[in-house]
Amino acid sequence: MDASFMTVLVQAVAAQPEEVAATAIQGTDLIKAGALIGAGICMGFGAIGPGIGEGFAAGKACEAIGRSPENAGLLTRTMLIGQAVSESTGIYSLVVALVILFGVVLGG
Protein backbone atom coordinates (compact mmCIF):
# COMPACT_ATOMS: atom_id res chain seq x y z
CA MET A 1 0.00 0.00 0.00
CA ASP A 2 1.83 3.09 -1.19
CA ALA A 3 1.40 6.65 -0.10
CA SER A 4 -0.49 7.79 -3.18
CA PHE A 5 -3.27 5.28 -2.49
CA MET A 6 -3.52 6.48 1.12
CA THR A 7 -3.75 10.05 -0.10
CA VAL A 8 -6.57 9.19 -2.43
CA LEU A 9 -8.39 7.31 0.33
CA VAL A 10 -8.03 10.09 2.86
CA GLN A 11 -9.17 12.64 0.33
CA ALA A 12 -12.16 10.51 -0.55
CA VAL A 13 -13.14 10.10 3.09
CA ALA A 14 -12.63 13.77 3.80
CA ALA A 15 -14.71 14.68 0.77
CA GLN A 16 -17.79 12.96 2.22
CA PRO A 17 -20.49 15.42 3.25
CA GLU A 18 -20.75 15.56 6.99
CA GLU A 19 -24.48 15.00 7.31
CA VAL A 20 -25.48 12.36 4.79
CA ALA A 21 -29.00 11.35 5.69
CA ALA A 22 -30.32 14.36 7.51
CA THR A 23 -33.23 14.98 5.14
CA ALA A 24 -36.24 16.73 6.52
CA ILE A 25 -39.49 14.90 7.32
CA GLN A 26 -41.83 15.33 4.41
CA GLY A 27 -45.61 15.50 4.48
CA THR A 28 -45.84 12.09 2.79
CA ASP A 29 -43.83 10.60 5.63
CA LEU A 30 -46.39 11.90 8.10
CA ILE A 31 -49.18 10.42 5.99
CA LYS A 32 -47.42 7.07 5.89
CA ALA A 33 -46.80 7.11 9.63
CA GLY A 34 -50.42 7.99 10.28
CA ALA A 35 -51.58 5.27 7.91
CA LEU A 36 -49.43 2.64 9.62
CA ILE A 37 -50.66 3.66 13.06
CA GLY A 38 -54.22 3.71 11.76
CA ALA A 39 -53.88 0.23 10.27
CA GLY A 40 -52.55 -1.08 13.57
CA ILE A 41 -55.36 0.50 15.57
CA CYS A 42 -57.95 -0.70 13.06
CA MET A 43 -56.77 -4.30 13.18
CA GLY A 44 -56.23 -4.29 16.94
CA PHE A 45 -59.62 -2.95 17.92
CA GLY A 46 -61.33 -4.89 15.18
CA ALA A 47 -59.96 -8.14 16.56
CA ILE A 48 -61.52 -7.66 20.01
CA GLY A 49 -65.12 -8.30 19.06
CA PRO A 50 -64.66 -11.48 17.02
CA GLY A 51 -62.29 -12.83 19.66
CA ILE A 52 -64.83 -12.44 22.43
CA GLY A 53 -67.68 -13.65 20.24
CA GLU A 54 -65.92 -16.75 18.97
CA GLY A 55 -64.75 -17.67 22.44
CA PHE A 56 -68.31 -17.33 23.69
CA ALA A 57 -69.58 -19.58 20.90
CA ALA A 58 -66.89 -22.17 21.59
CA GLY A 59 -67.64 -22.14 25.32
CA LYS A 60 -71.36 -22.63 24.75
CA ALA A 61 -70.63 -25.42 22.27
CA CYS A 62 -68.42 -27.13 24.86
CA GLU A 63 -71.24 -26.93 27.40
CA ALA A 64 -73.71 -28.34 24.90
CA ILE A 65 -71.38 -31.19 23.94
CA GLY A 66 -70.90 -31.98 27.61
CA ARG A 67 -74.66 -32.16 28.02
CA SER A 68 -75.30 -34.26 24.93
CA PRO A 69 -72.13 -35.85 23.54
CA GLU A 70 -74.06 -37.76 20.88
CA ASN A 71 -74.70 -34.48 19.02
CA ALA A 72 -71.04 -33.48 18.99
CA GLY A 73 -70.72 -33.54 15.20
CA LEU A 74 -73.74 -31.34 14.57
CA LEU A 75 -72.74 -28.96 17.36
CA THR A 76 -69.21 -28.61 16.08
CA ARG A 77 -70.45 -27.91 12.57
CA THR A 78 -72.95 -25.31 13.74
CA MET A 79 -70.33 -23.72 15.97
CA LEU A 80 -67.86 -23.42 13.11
CA ILE A 81 -70.45 -21.83 10.86
CA GLY A 82 -71.48 -19.37 13.54
CA GLN A 83 -67.90 -18.52 14.33
CA ALA A 84 -67.10 -17.96 10.66
CA VAL A 85 -70.07 -15.61 10.40
CA SER A 86 -69.26 -13.70 13.58
CA GLU A 87 -65.67 -13.45 12.41
CA SER A 88 -66.74 -11.22 9.56
CA THR A 89 -66.46 -7.94 11.49
CA GLY A 90 -62.84 -8.76 12.20
CA ILE A 91 -62.41 -9.57 8.54
CA TYR A 92 -63.84 -6.17 7.58
CA SER A 93 -61.29 -4.44 9.77
CA LEU A 94 -58.62 -6.63 8.19
CA VAL A 95 -59.75 -5.51 4.75
CA VAL A 96 -59.72 -1.87 5.86
CA ALA A 97 -56.25 -2.31 7.34
CA LEU A 98 -55.07 -3.88 4.10
CA VAL A 99 -56.53 -1.04 2.08
CA ILE A 100 -54.72 1.43 4.33
CA LEU A 101 -51.45 -0.49 4.14
CA PHE A 102 -51.33 -1.27 0.44
CA GLY A 103 -53.33 1.68 -0.79
CA VAL A 104 -51.66 4.45 1.21
CA VAL A 105 -48.27 3.20 2.32
CA LEU A 106 -47.10 1.13 -0.62
CA GLY A 107 -49.23 2.77 -3.28
CA GLY A 108 -47.93 6.22 -2.33
Binding site: S88, I91, L98
Partner: protein, 251 residues
Protein backbone atom coordinates in the same frame (compact mmCIF):
# COMPACT_ATOMS: atom_id res chain seq x y z
CA UNK B 1 -43.29 -8.90 -0.16
CA UNK B 2 -44.03 -5.91 -2.35
CA UNK B 3 -46.34 -7.97 -4.49
CA UNK B 4 -48.77 -8.90 -1.72
CA UNK B 5 -51.64 -6.66 -2.58
CA UNK B 6 -51.20 -6.75 -6.34
CA UNK B 7 -52.91 -8.76 -9.02
CA UNK B 8 -51.74 -9.09 -12.59
CA UNK B 9 -53.92 -6.91 -14.79
CA UNK B 10 -53.69 -6.53 -18.54
CA UNK B 11 -54.44 -2.95 -19.55
CA UNK B 12 -53.70 -3.58 -23.22
CA UNK B 13 -54.33 -6.45 -25.58
CA UNK B 14 -50.94 -8.23 -25.52
CA UNK B 15 -48.70 -7.33 -28.43
CA UNK B 16 -50.77 -4.36 -29.48
CA UNK B 17 -51.59 -0.86 -28.32
CA UNK B 18 -55.32 -1.47 -28.09
CA UNK B 19 -56.56 -0.68 -24.60
CA UNK B 20 -58.88 -3.17 -22.98
CA UNK B 21 -62.20 -1.52 -22.14
CA UNK B 22 -63.56 -1.21 -18.57
CA UNK B 23 -60.13 -0.68 -17.08
CA UNK B 24 -58.32 -3.88 -17.86
CA UNK B 25 -58.54 -7.62 -17.44
CA UNK B 26 -57.60 -9.66 -14.37
CA UNK B 27 -55.86 -12.35 -16.34
CA UNK B 28 -54.84 -14.65 -13.52
CA UNK B 29 -58.28 -14.57 -11.93
CA UNK B 30 -59.91 -15.59 -15.18
CA UNK B 31 -57.23 -18.17 -15.88
CA UNK B 32 -57.57 -19.72 -12.43
CA UNK B 33 -61.35 -19.73 -12.65
CA UNK B 34 -61.09 -21.65 -15.91
CA UNK B 35 -58.54 -24.01 -14.34
CA UNK B 36 -60.91 -24.68 -11.44
CA UNK B 37 -63.75 -25.31 -13.87
CA UNK B 38 -61.73 -27.72 -16.02
CA UNK B 39 -60.40 -29.49 -12.92
CA UNK B 40 -63.90 -30.04 -11.60
CA UNK B 41 -65.18 -31.16 -14.98
CA UNK B 42 -62.40 -33.71 -15.42
CA UNK B 43 -62.58 -34.91 -11.82
CA UNK B 44 -66.34 -35.37 -11.79
CA UNK B 45 -66.31 -36.94 -15.24
CA UNK B 46 -63.66 -39.42 -14.14
CA UNK B 47 -65.57 -40.14 -10.95
CA UNK B 48 -68.89 -40.95 -12.58
CA UNK B 49 -67.62 -42.48 -15.80
CA UNK B 50 -68.70 -46.02 -14.98
CA UNK B 51 -71.94 -45.66 -13.08
CA UNK B 52 -73.44 -48.79 -11.61
CA UNK B 53 -75.88 -49.86 -8.93
CA UNK B 54 -73.01 -50.93 -6.71
CA UNK B 55 -70.86 -47.77 -6.80
CA UNK B 56 -67.13 -47.75 -7.15
CA UNK B 57 -64.98 -45.40 -5.14
CA UNK B 58 -65.34 -42.23 -7.23
CA UNK B 59 -69.08 -42.57 -7.61
CA UNK B 60 -69.36 -43.16 -3.88
CA UNK B 61 -67.62 -39.88 -3.02
CA UNK B 62 -69.68 -37.90 -5.50
CA UNK B 63 -72.89 -39.51 -4.26
CA UNK B 64 -71.89 -38.61 -0.72
CA UNK B 65 -71.39 -34.93 -1.62
CA UNK B 66 -74.52 -34.76 -3.73
CA UNK B 67 -76.61 -36.51 -1.10
CA UNK B 68 -75.32 -34.25 1.66
CA UNK B 69 -76.17 -31.11 -0.31
CA UNK B 70 -79.52 -32.48 -1.37
CA UNK B 71 -80.41 -32.96 2.28
CA UNK B 72 -79.03 -29.53 3.15
CA UNK B 73 -81.07 -27.75 0.50
CA UNK B 74 -84.20 -29.69 1.45
CA UNK B 75 -83.84 -28.95 5.15
CA UNK B 76 -83.06 -25.26 4.59
CA UNK B 77 -85.70 -24.37 2.03
CA UNK B 78 -88.45 -26.67 3.41
CA UNK B 79 -90.41 -26.64 0.18
CA UNK B 80 -93.22 -29.15 -0.32
CA UNK B 81 -91.99 -31.10 -3.28
CA UNK B 82 -88.67 -32.66 -4.07
CA UNK B 83 -88.70 -31.01 -7.49
CA UNK B 84 -88.90 -27.52 -6.01
CA UNK B 85 -85.86 -28.22 -3.89
CA UNK B 86 -84.09 -29.73 -6.88
CA UNK B 87 -84.42 -26.40 -8.66
CA UNK B 88 -81.91 -24.81 -6.29
CA UNK B 89 -79.76 -27.85 -5.64
CA UNK B 90 -77.48 -27.62 -8.74
CA UNK B 91 -76.57 -24.01 -7.99
CA UNK B 92 -75.78 -24.69 -4.34
CA UNK B 93 -73.73 -27.82 -4.97
CA UNK B 94 -71.92 -26.18 -7.86
CA UNK B 95 -71.16 -23.06 -5.82
CA UNK B 96 -69.70 -25.12 -3.00
CA UNK B 97 -67.52 -27.27 -5.25
CA UNK B 98 -66.28 -24.23 -7.19
CA UNK B 99 -65.43 -22.26 -4.06
CA UNK B 100 -63.79 -25.28 -2.43
CA UNK B 101 -61.41 -25.88 -5.31
CA UNK B 102 -60.94 -22.14 -5.87
CA UNK B 103 -59.85 -21.66 -2.25
CA UNK B 104 -57.41 -24.55 -2.60
CA UNK B 105 -55.75 -22.97 -5.63
CA UNK B 106 -53.16 -21.27 -3.42
CA UNK B 107 -51.63 -24.63 -2.59
CA UNK B 108 -49.77 -25.50 -5.84
CA UNK B 109 -46.40 -23.75 -5.50
CA UNK B 110 -46.44 -22.02 -8.87
CA UNK B 111 -46.78 -18.35 -9.58
CA UNK B 112 -49.61 -18.69 -12.05
CA UNK B 113 -51.86 -20.51 -9.61
CA UNK B 114 -53.48 -18.18 -7.11
CA UNK B 115 -56.88 -18.17 -5.52
CA UNK B 116 -59.51 -16.52 -7.73
CA UNK B 117 -61.34 -15.75 -4.48
CA UNK B 118 -58.42 -13.60 -3.32
CA UNK B 119 -59.60 -11.13 -5.94
CA UNK B 120 -62.37 -8.83 -4.75
CA UNK B 121 -63.92 -8.81 -8.22
CA UNK B 122 -64.58 -12.53 -8.13
CA UNK B 123 -66.16 -12.56 -4.68
CA UNK B 124 -68.17 -9.41 -5.42
CA UNK B 125 -69.53 -11.06 -8.56
CA UNK B 126 -70.49 -14.18 -6.63
CA UNK B 127 -72.07 -12.16 -3.82
CA UNK B 128 -74.01 -10.03 -6.28
CA UNK B 129 -75.21 -13.19 -7.96
CA UNK B 130 -76.35 -14.67 -4.64
CA UNK B 131 -78.28 -11.59 -3.51
CA UNK B 132 -79.77 -10.95 -6.95
CA UNK B 133 -80.90 -14.56 -7.11
CA UNK B 134 -82.47 -14.28 -3.67
CA UNK B 135 -84.27 -11.09 -4.72
CA UNK B 136 -85.57 -12.65 -7.93
CA UNK B 137 -86.73 -15.75 -6.08
CA UNK B 138 -88.42 -13.57 -3.47
CA UNK B 139 -90.26 -11.57 -6.13
CA UNK B 140 -91.31 -14.82 -7.82
CA UNK B 141 -92.54 -16.36 -4.61
CA UNK B 142 -94.44 -13.37 -3.19
CA UNK B 143 -95.18 -11.27 -6.23
CA UNK B 144 -93.86 -7.78 -6.83
CA UNK B 145 -96.43 -6.30 -4.45
CA UNK B 146 -95.59 -8.62 -1.61
CA UNK B 147 -91.89 -8.07 -2.05
CA UNK B 148 -92.17 -4.27 -2.08
CA UNK B 149 -94.50 -4.24 0.90
CA UNK B 150 -91.86 -6.25 2.73
CA UNK B 151 -89.28 -3.64 1.77
CA UNK B 152 -91.58 -0.89 3.07
CA UNK B 153 -91.34 -2.14 6.60
CA UNK B 154 -93.69 -3.92 9.03
CA UNK B 155 -96.25 -1.09 9.26
CA UNK B 156 -96.91 -0.65 5.54
CA UNK B 157 -100.04 -2.78 5.24
CA UNK B 158 -102.28 -3.07 8.29
CA UNK B 159 -105.77 -3.85 7.07
CA UNK B 160 -108.63 -2.93 9.38
CA UNK B 161 -106.66 -0.23 11.18
CA UNK B 162 -108.09 3.30 11.57
CA UNK B 163 -107.19 5.95 9.01
CA UNK B 164 -104.62 7.74 11.13
CA UNK B 165 -102.70 4.57 11.90
CA UNK B 166 -102.67 3.66 8.21
CA UNK B 167 -101.27 7.05 7.22
CA UNK B 168 -98.67 6.79 9.97
CA UNK B 169 -97.76 3.31 8.71
CA UNK B 170 -97.33 4.59 5.16
CA UNK B 171 -95.23 7.47 6.45
CA UNK B 172 -93.04 5.08 8.45
CA UNK B 173 -91.93 3.50 5.18
CA UNK B 174 -89.93 6.69 4.56
CA UNK B 175 -87.74 5.46 7.38
CA UNK B 176 -87.88 1.72 6.73
CA UNK B 177 -87.42 1.71 2.96
CA UNK B 178 -83.87 3.16 2.84
CA UNK B 179 -82.93 0.99 5.78
CA UNK B 180 -84.11 -2.17 4.06
CA UNK B 181 -82.50 -1.24 0.74
CA UNK B 182 -79.19 -0.56 2.47
CA UNK B 183 -79.61 -3.83 4.34
CA UNK B 184 -80.05 -5.71 1.07
CA UNK B 185 -77.02 -4.00 -0.47
CA UNK B 186 -74.88 -4.60 2.59
CA UNK B 187 -75.59 -8.31 2.22
CA UNK B 188 -73.51 -8.22 -0.96
CA UNK B 189 -70.63 -6.45 0.75
CA UNK B 190 -70.77 -8.66 3.81
CA UNK B 191 -70.86 -12.00 2.00
CA UNK B 192 -68.17 -11.09 -0.51
CA UNK B 193 -65.78 -9.31 1.87
CA UNK B 194 -65.97 -12.23 4.29
CA UNK B 195 -64.69 -14.67 1.69
CA UNK B 196 -62.18 -12.22 0.22
CA UNK B 197 -60.76 -11.17 3.60
CA UNK B 198 -60.40 -14.70 4.87
CA UNK B 199 -58.61 -15.95 1.79
CA UNK B 200 -56.31 -12.98 1.27
CA UNK B 201 -55.60 -12.70 5.01
CA UNK B 202 -54.51 -16.33 5.08
CA UNK B 203 -52.29 -15.91 2.06
CA UNK B 204 -50.70 -12.76 3.51
CA UNK B 205 -49.98 -14.54 6.80
CA UNK B 206 -48.39 -17.41 4.85
CA UNK B 207 -46.22 -14.98 2.86
CA UNK B 208 -45.12 -13.04 5.95
CA UNK B 209 -44.26 -16.15 7.96
CA UNK B 210 -42.50 -17.67 4.94
CA UNK B 211 -40.28 -14.61 4.77
CA UNK B 212 -39.61 -14.73 8.52
CA UNK B 213 -38.56 -18.40 8.60
CA UNK B 214 -36.91 -18.40 5.13
CA UNK B 215 -39.53 -20.80 3.70
CA UNK B 216 -38.43 -23.61 6.01
CA UNK B 217 -41.06 -26.20 6.90
CA UNK B 218 -43.52 -24.06 8.80
CA UNK B 219 -45.33 -22.56 5.75
CA UNK B 220 -46.53 -26.04 4.78
CA UNK B 221 -48.25 -26.41 8.15
CA UNK B 222 -49.75 -22.96 7.75
CA UNK B 223 -50.95 -24.00 4.29
CA UNK B 224 -52.94 -26.81 5.79
CA UNK B 225 -54.69 -24.49 8.24
CA UNK B 226 -55.16 -21.34 6.21
CA UNK B 227 -55.79 -22.92 2.82
CA UNK B 228 -57.49 -26.21 3.49
CA UNK B 229 -59.31 -25.68 6.81
CA UNK B 230 -60.27 -22.04 6.42
CA UNK B 231 -60.88 -22.46 2.71
CA UNK B 232 -63.26 -25.35 3.20
CA UNK B 233 -65.11 -23.60 6.02
CA UNK B 234 -65.45 -20.36 4.09
CA UNK B 235 -66.67 -22.18 0.98
CA UNK B 236 -69.29 -23.88 3.11
CA UNK B 237 -70.24 -20.62 4.85
CA UNK B 238 -70.66 -18.80 1.55
CA UNK B 239 -72.86 -21.60 0.25
CA UNK B 240 -74.92 -21.75 3.43
CA UNK B 241 -75.43 -17.99 3.43
CA UNK B 242 -76.55 -18.02 -0.19
CA UNK B 243 -79.00 -20.76 0.72
CA UNK B 244 -80.17 -18.82 3.76
CA UNK B 245 -80.74 -15.66 1.72
CA UNK B 246 -82.83 -17.63 -0.74
CA UNK B 247 -84.73 -19.38 2.05
CA UNK B 248 -85.48 -16.08 3.81
CA UNK B 249 -86.57 -14.47 0.55
CA UNK B 250 -89.01 -17.18 -0.51
CA UNK B 251 -90.59 -17.80 2.89
Amino acid sequence: MERIGERLIWYFVPGTNTPIPLGGLNVLTIFNTVVVMLFLWVLLWLAVRHRSLVPNRGQMVVELVVGAFDGLVASSLELETREANRKFFPLICCLFLFLLVANFMGFPPFDIFEEPTADINCTLALGTMAVALATVCGIRAKGIGGYTSELMGPLWSQPGAPMGAQIAGKLSSLFFFPLNVIGELSKIVSISFRLFGNIIGGSIIIIVVSNLVYNFGLPLGLDFFFIFFVGAIQAFVFTMLTLTYIAVAIK
